[in-house]
Symmetry: C2
Subunit: 215 residues, 2 copies
Amino acid sequence: MAKRITTQEKILNAAEALFAEQGFEQTSLRQITTEANVNLASVNYHFGSKKALIQAVMARYLEVFMPKLAEQLTVLNARGNFSTRDVFDCFREPLAELKQVRKHGPTLFLSLLGFAYAEIQGHLRRYTMEHFGEVMALLLDTLHQANPQLSPVDMFWRLHFVLGATVFAQVSGPALREIAAADFGEAVAADQVIDRLIPFLAGGLDAASHSSTVE
Amino acid sequence: MAKRITTQEKILNAAEALFAEQGFEQTSLRQITTEANVNLASVNYHFGSKKALIQAVMARYLEVFMPKLAEQLTVLNARGNFSTRDVFDCFREPLAELKQVRKHGPTLFLSLLGFAYAEIQGHLRRYTMEHFGEVMALLLDTLHQANPQLSPVDMFWRLHFVLGATVFAQVSGPALREIAAADFGEAVAADQVIDRLIPFLAGGLDAASHSSTVE
DNA sequence: ATCCATTTTAAACATGCGTTTTAATTTAAA
DNA sequence: TTTAAATTAAAACGCATGTTTAAAATGGAT
């Protein structure tokens, strides 16, 4: 009855859970194979190396997320006349779609993305740019249209500030939610962190640029 | 004439440079001692462990920075009637003071802080909270006064978004500056990144909260 | 000059890592 | 049923890490 789970899937599932929790470098193949109940050598047999395993874990999500995002951005561009907030809202649906990949897909994906960005894994950045460079370019262009008052180089920097805040919110999310619950007696779900984040990001992106604030 | 440099200082100087460049975990004691021209065992002899060395590296800066920051915040609080931007500007002078510790102190310190925050080193967070917890509380309170429309829990989250964006801007700074220079033919100095960052952060912090944007 | 505490040195230790090897086992096709 | 390919298994390899040990060197104080 129950669908047969291959060794590769067992490895991918165990790996992504541990990666999202501890980061890529901190997670050893022995941890992964123990958790997955498979032999240590099977990772190298099926994937070739740890690097390749990391890419495979990310690919499962990126291949769903990126086309959906490109779709949303294209629709918005066709419509025209949009705000920064509209651009950010383009991320909501593609992110929600990741539930189809995995139950807690959206949260897992953001955590993975966080560690990928934090540990500056050259090979992952290269992989993303090679496979989804057009989507990134489309995003930058869309954001520029929403904020024509900002120069391209300004937008470049702010986009990375946005990435930084997002990634950090996710990676330190569990710890911060714990502290917030203790200090303010207010439990915050993971999804609600994003709701708190988006206004912050939009406010930052829409702010006047530094050159115009210099007297 | 030339001031005698002790082994401990040689270690601290080599360690902070390597830590700021590669992060704490990525930097080995052998790298540090080779760079410092001292014996491998001297790190454990003088500092006890790698963890303790990391704390010692951070302490040199925190012990200068934190009191200065507390001073600035106290003055601002006494004055009353201030904006978010004013709060952030309180960081400029204490940061600039770090040049007295080391020539490129401000940049080094932010990079170290970035890695400290990125690699969630429990012992470093504990150290900071134990020694400078009051300053952090003062900062949170000051920001709350500048934005009374935000709830304390909202401010808590946004402060961490700010930290995330800052830390990331610094850690990925060198790589991003390189890309920016290549793509836009515009060289950006490290100090100017902060000038680009502050308006972004202030805009994000001042944004309307999510609850007021929900229809 | 002698002595003793401090410091430096070289070597080894114990551990964990990713990877490779070789053999046993399972699987599916002929 | 036989045969060959695919997969799993156990063990070892080579390497890098932080730490410890024990001897040698150093430097002031007596």
